[in-house]
C-alpha cells in the first residue's frame, strides 16, 4: 500500500540582511562575512548523511529557500547543485528554484545563477507600496522589484514567482488591488498571494500593527482572486496562483504528501523509508548547526505514528483546489481509505468536502474554513 513517492530536496539558507518583523521562518541577521564555503560544506554533509537510504530515487525538484539564498554567491550555489546531482539522479524536467530578495541583486548575478543550474526564481516582492515595504521592514523599494525582474528575464529565467502580501496595515482594497496589478504587469509565471498573518514569536505578534478586519481582508481576497483569474493566473492552492503549466513542482510535492530531504539549519524533511514515514529536523540556530558534527545536527529523526497520518496528509492535500484521489491517500500514507470514513462523512455532512468522480476536494465553504475541515482529521 505505502509506495515510495517522488523525492524533492529543500536546502535552507538561514541568513538575511535584516529580519523582517512579520517573518517566522528560521532566519537570522547575517554576520559581516557569511562563511559560505563552510555552510555549503555542511549542507553537503547533511546530504551525504541522508542519501544512503534514498539512492536511485530521482529528484523532481531542488528548492533553495531561506532566509535569503541570494546572499550566497553563484559559485557557492553552483558547487551545491553539482554535488547534489553527483549524488542523486535527477528527473529530466528537474525544477531548481532559488529564493531571492529584490534588495540583494547585483547586475549579472542571475545569469550566473542560471549558469549554475537555477531555472526558477521566487522573488519576495511583498508589496509595491514604498510605505508598506518600510512598515514590513523590507530592505528593498518598489523600483528594486522591477529591476530584479529585468535581471531575471535577461538571464534567461522565464519561470519566476512573485510573493505578494495583502491585508497589510492600513491597506485599502484599492491599494491591495493596485499592488496586485503591478505584480501582474511584470508577468511572472506564478504569484503567491498571502494574507499577512501575525505569527507567534515575531515582533508583529507582540506589538501588532493595526490590520484591516476579517471582512475587509476577505473582500480584498475575493477581488484579488478575480483580478488574478482575469489575468490568467489560476488558483491551485490557498495562496498559490499560476499560469497554465507553471504550478510549482516543489510546492505541489509538499501538498501531495511527497517526500523531501531537508538540508541546512532548521530544515525539515519528510521521507518514506522501510514502510515508515519519517520526519527529520536539523538544528535551528546557524551557529549551533555549524558547530555540531553532522549526525548531531539531526535533532529529529522520527517515524510519524499512523494515527497522525490522516491529519498530516489532509493538512497538505486539502490545500489543493483540485484535491486528490483516494488512491493517493492510500499510497502516500499506507492507510486504508475506509479508515477515515467517519471523518469524511462528517466533513461532507457539514458541506466542507465533496467527493466526485474519483476526486476528493474541499467545497467553496471548505476552502474558506479549511482549518475546520482539517481539524476533523486530528486524532483524539
Amino acid at each position: 500500500m505505502l509506495s515510495t513517492p517522488p523525492l524533492a530536496l529543500y536546502a535552507h539558507f538561514p541568513w538575511c540582511v535584516q529580519k523582517c518583523p512579520y517573518c517566522d521562518f528560521n532566519s537570522h541577521k547575517a554576520p559581516e562575512q557569511i562563511q559560505e564555503q563552510r555552510y555549503i560544506d555542511a549542507l553537503l554533509e547533511d546530504l551525504a548523511l541522508d542519501v544512503p537510504d534514498h539512492v536511485n530515487r530521482p529528484l523532481v525538484s531542488i528548492f533553495m529557500g531561506g532566509g535569503t539564498p541570494s546572499l550566497f554567491s553563484p559559485d557557492s550555489i553552483a558547487r551545491l547543485l553539482e554535488e547534489i546531482k553527483a549524488r542523486l539522479p535527477v528527473s529530466p524536467d528537474l525544477e531548481v528554484t532559488l529564493e531571492a530578495n529584490p534588495g540583494t541583486i547585483e547586475h549579472g548575478k542571475f545569469a550566473a545563477y542560471r549558469a549554475a543550474g537555477v531555472n526558477r526564481v521566487s522573488l519576495g516582492a511583498q508589496s509595491f507600496d514604498t510605505e508598506q515595504l518600510t512598515k514590513l521592514g523590507r530592505i528593498h523599494g518598489s523600483a528594486d522589484i522591477a529591476l530584479a525582474v529585468e535581471e531575471i528575464r535577461s538571464a534567461g529565467i522565464e519561470n519566476f514567482n512573485l510573493d505578494l502580501m495583502y491585508g497589510l496595515s492600513g491597506q485599502t482594497r484599492e491599494a491591495a488591488l493596485a499592488d496586485l496589478r503591478q505584480a501582474i504587469a511584470l508577468a511572472p509565471t506564478h504569484i503567491s498571494h498571502y494574507q499577512l498573518t501575525l505569527e507567534p514569536g515575531t515582533p508583529f505578534f507582540h506589538r501588532p500593527p493595526e490590520l484591516p478586519d476579517d471582512d475587509h481582508c476577505y473582500a480584498m481576497q475575493v477581488e484579488c482572486q478575480a483580478l488574478l483569474a482575469d489575468a490568467g493566473y489560476q488558483q491551485y492552492e490557498v495562496s498559490a496562483y499560476a499560469q497554465a503549466g507553471r504550478q510549482s513542482v516543489h510546492n505541489r510535492n509538499y501538498w501531495q504528501f511527497g517526500d523531501y530531504l531537508g538540508l541546512g539549519a532548521g530544515a525539515h524533511g519528510k521521507l518514506t523509508h522501510n514502510g515508515q514515514i519519517l520526519r527529520t529536523e536539523r538544528q535551528k540556530q546557524p551557529r549551533q548547526y555549524l558547530g555540531s558534527p553532522v549526525a548531531g545536527r539531526l535533532v529529529l529523526h522520527q517515524a510519524v505514528a499512523p494515527e497522525e497520518l490522516p491529519f498530516e496528509f489532509m493538512l497538505n492535500a486539502l490545500r489543493l483546489r483540485s484535491g486528490f484521489a483516494p488512491e493517493l491517500f492510500e499510497s502516500r500514507t499506507g492507510l486504508c481509505w475506509s479508515s477515515i470514513q467517519p471523518q469524511l462523512t462528517q466533513a461532507r455532512a457539514r458541506g466542507l468536502l465533496e467527493i466526485d468522480r474519483g476526486r476528493v476536494f474541499p467545497t467553496e465553504l471548505g476552502r474558506r474554513f479549511l482549518n475546520d475541515l482539517i481539524a476533523l482529521f486530528l486524532g483524539g
Binding site: Y194, T197, D215, R319, F369, L370, N371
Partner: protein
C-alpha cells in the same frame, strides 16, 4: 471533658478569621514554620483562590493555659459568605461557644449579625473579638458600641487583638478557656455522635467529621448510622492538628474523624447520628434542618459521553454539600443533565467549578432561576423551578414570585445609593434605623432580583461598605412572563428566563445584545431573538465569519500548525452544539451579565 473547648469563629469575609485561625495553630504548635503555609484552614484550592471558606474544617489544638492545665481546643471553621449560612449552623451545632470577630476599622457586617444570632439561638457563648487593632484606622471603642447596638450583646469585655501581629492572641486563648463552657454530655451513656461533615476519599471511602455528644467511640467498634440502619466497623479514628493524627478513642465532647469502610457515597449523611450497634442510643440527635435551595439551574455536560461520570460526581459532591439538590432533567437543546438547586449564585459557581476541576468535567449551566409558586385554574398549587416548565397561561390562575427580607448595614454616606438600588429592584422598605456609624435597613425584595446580581451591585454602589443578609419571606402574586431565546429560529429551552412584564422588553434587548457579544462568529450567520410567546421583542445577528485558513504551509514544522488547530478544536469543545450553532458556556449565563448598568 472539663479540659475541652469546642468553638467556631464567626467573621465576615476579610475580617481576618483565617489569619486568626493560623495564629492559634502557630501559638499552640500545631505546625512548625516550614509546614505553616498561610491560611491553613482554607484548604480547598477554590477557597484559597476566592479567599473565602466554603466547607467546615476542624483543627484540634493543645493549649497550656495559665492555670497550668493543658486544654484541648477544637476549632471548627465556618464559611463567611451569605450563600453559606446553612453551613454555619452546621458548624455551630458542634460547638459550645463562638468568637465573633469584627474588623476594628470596618465595624459590624450584616452576615456576622445573622450568624451571631444563629449562635445565640443554639445557646452558644459568644465572645466578641475586635481584630486588626494595629490598623491606624482602627476604632475599637466605636466597634464595641456597634456590636452592642446592632447585635445587642454585651461587648464591654471584648478582646482586642491583631491576628496579623499576634497582639492580644495569648489573652484571647485565655478568654476562650475561661469564657467558653466545657462540653456537656454523659460519658457513660450510649454513643451519640453528630456527623458535622462527610467527604469521599477514593482510597478509604467516606470520611466523617463528628462531634461526640454522649458516650465514646473506639477503633474496632461496630457503629450504626442512624438514618440508614447500616452497620460498619471503625477502622480509624483521628483528629486534625491540622495534620491528621490517628487516635484510638474519641471521648465525650471531642471532635474528630471516623473512617469505617463506608463505600456508599451516601453512607454517612451530614447531620446524621452515629451510635454503637451493640448499645444503641434511644433517639437520633436533632441534626440540622434541611435547607431549601433558592436558585435552580440545569447543568449539562458539554460532551454527552460524560453523563455517567457527571452523575457520579454530583453524588460525591452532595455527600458533603447537603444544600446541593439535583434531579435528572432533559433539555431539548442541551440533552440529558440535572436540574440542580443551590443556595445562591456563589454556591452555583463553586459547585460548577468543583465539578469541573475535581471531576474533570466540562459543564454548561442554563440560565439560573428562582422557584415560582403557581396557582392553577383547577385550584392546585405547584412550584416551578424551570422556566421551560411554566404552565400555559390559560391554566394559570396566579403566578407568585418569592419575596425575601433583606437586612442591610451601610454607612450613612451610601444610604442614598442603596435606597435607590433597592427601589430599582422593586423593593419595599420595612425599616430604617441609624445605629452608631451605620444605618440598618430592612427591605422586602423579589428574590429573583436579589440572587441574580443584587450582591455585586450593593457592593459597587457602596464601594464595598454595605453588607447584607437575607431570608425567604413569602410568595406574592406578580405579573411575570416567560422570555424565550431563539437561535436561528429554534427556541433554546435552557436560555428561557422568567421576568417581570414591565422589564421584559428591556431584558430581551439586553439579553440578545449580550448573546451577540458572547457567541463567536462562525461559518454561518447566527440570528438571536428574544420572544414572549410568539412576539419577537428583540433580535440581533452574529455575522458569519469569512474564513479560517492558514495562509502558508510548506512542509516545514507541522507540529506548530497541529497545535494551532488543536487549540481551535479545544476551544470548540468548550462550546455546546445547539443545532448547527456552537454556543459558548458564558452565553448560557448571559442573563447574569445584563441589567447592571443603565
Amino acid at each position: 471533658m472539663k479540659l475541652i473547648r469546642n468553638f467556631s469563629i464567626i467573621a465576615h469575609v476579610d475580617h481576618g478569621k483565617s489569619t486568626l485561625a493560623d495564629r492559634f495553630i502557630q501559638s499552640c504548635g500545631g505546625l512548625d514554620a516550614r509546614e505553616m503555609e498561610n491560611q491553613v484552614l482554607d484548604s480547598m484550592d477554590l477557597e484559597r483562590e476566592r479567599g473565602i471558606t466554603i466547607k467546615a474544617q476542624s483543627v484540634m489544638l493543645k493549649y497550656k493555659a495559665k492555670d497550668g492545665q493543658i486544654y484541648q481546643l477544637n476549632m471548627i471553621d465556618t464559611p463567611g459568605h451569605v450563600d453559606f449560612s446553612y453551613e454555619v449552623s452546621r458548624s455551630l451545632a458542634a460547638c459550645d461557644g463562638a468568637l465573633l470577630v469584627v474588623d476594628a476599622a470596618q465595624g459590624v457586617e450584616a452576615q456576622s449579625v445573622a450568624n451571631c444570632y444563629t449562635a445565640l439561638d443554639q445557646g452558644l457563648e459568644v465572645v466578641p473579638v475586635i481584630n486588626k487593632i494595629d490598623l491606624p484606622s482602627a476604632e475599637p471603642a466605636r466597634v464595641i458600641k456597634e456590636i452592642e447596638e446592632i447585635i445587642g450583646i454585651d461587648a464591654e469585655d471584648a478582646v482586642l487583638v491583631s491576628a496579623k501581629t499576634g497582639l492580644g492572641v495569648p489573652e484571647l486563648l485565655e478568654e476562650i478557656v475561661r469564657r467558653i463552657p466545657a462540653p456537656k454530655g454523659d460519658p457513660d451513656a450510649p454513643l451519640q455522635a453528630l456527623i458535622i461533615d462527610s467527604w469521599f476519599d477514593s482510597y478509604v471511602g467516606v470520611v466523617s467529621l463528628v462531634r461526640v455528644m454522649n458516650g465514646s467511640l473506639k477503633v474496632g467498634e461496630k457503629i450504626r448510622v442512624w438514618s440508614s440502619g447500616r452497620n460498619y466497623q471503625v477502622d480509624k479514628l483521628g483528629r486534625f492538628t491540622p495534620k491528621s493524627l490517628a487516635c484510638s478513642e474519641l471521648a465525650t465532647g471531642e471532635v474528630g474523624f471516623v473512617i469505617a469502610g463506608i463505600k456508599e457515597i451516601d453512607g454517612a449523611p451530614v447531620g446524621d447520628t452515629i451510635t454503637l450497634e451493640s448499645r444503641q442510643c434511644s433517639a437520633a440527635l436533632e441534626g440540622f434542618k434541611q435547607i431549601q435551595p433558592r436558585v435552580f439551574a440545569g447543568l449539562f455536560t458539554v460532551n454527552s459521553d460524560d453523563y455517567e461520570a457527571f452523575r457520579d460526581a454530583l453524588a460525591k459532591l452532595k455527600l458533603n454539600d447537603s444544600a446541593l439538590q439535583y434531579q435528572p432533567e432533559v433539555s431539548a437543546a442541551l440533552g440529558f443533565g440535572f436540574r440542580c438547586g443551590f443556595l445562591g449564585l456563589l454556591h452555583m459557581d463553586i459547585v460548577q467549578e468543583r465539578l469541573e476541576r475535581e471531576y474533570n468535567l466540562d459543564l454548561i449551566t442554563s440560565a439560573p432561576t428562582v422557584v415560582y409558586e403557581i396557582l392553577l385554574t383547577d385550584g392546585t398549587t405547584i412550584y416551578v423551578d424551570n422556566p421551560a416548565k411554566l404552565p400555559a397561561s390559560n391554566v394559570t390562575a396566579e403566578l407568585r414570585e418569592p419575596i425575601i427580607i433583606a437586612n442591610i448595614l451601610v454607612p450613612p454616606e451610601y444610604v442614598g445609593a442603596v435606597l435607590k438600588l433597592c427601589n430599582d429592584k422593586r423593593g419595599r422598605q420595612k425599616k430604617m434605623l441609624y445605629l452608631g456609624n451605620q444605618v440598618s435597613l430592612q427591605y422586602e425584595l423579589p428574590m429573583a432580583d436579589v440572587v441574580l446580581d443584587f450582591f455585586d451591585r450593593l457592593k459597587s454602589v457602596s464601594r464595598g461598605y454595605a453588607s447584607f443578609d437575607y431570608e425567604f419571606s413569602h410568595f406574592e402574586a406578580a405579573p411575570m412572563v416567560k422570555l424565550d431565546i431563539l437561535i436561528n429560529a429554534d427556541k433554546v429551552d435552557a436560555l428561557s428566563i422568567i421576568v417581570h412584564r414591565d422589564m421584559a422588553y428591556q431584558r430581551g434587548r439586553e439579553l440578545v445584545d449580550k448573546m451577540r457579544e458572547l457567541i463567536p462568529r462562525q461559518m454561518f450567520e447566527v440570528a438571536v431573538q428574544a420572544a414572549i410567546g410568539v412576539n419577537v421583542v428583540a433580535r440581533a445577528n452574529v455575522k458569519a465569519l469569512r474564513k479560517n485558513v492558514l495562509a502558508k504551509c510548506y512542509g516545514g514544522d507541522l507540529s506548530r500548525k497541529r497545535k494551532l488547530l488543536e487549540k481551535q478544536k479545544e476551544g470548540k469543545k468548550r462550546m455546546k452544539q445547539v443545532g448547527s450553532v456552537e454556543i459558548p458556556q458564558e452565553a448560557f449565563l448571559a442573563v447574569l451579565q445584563i441589567g447592571r448598568e443603565k
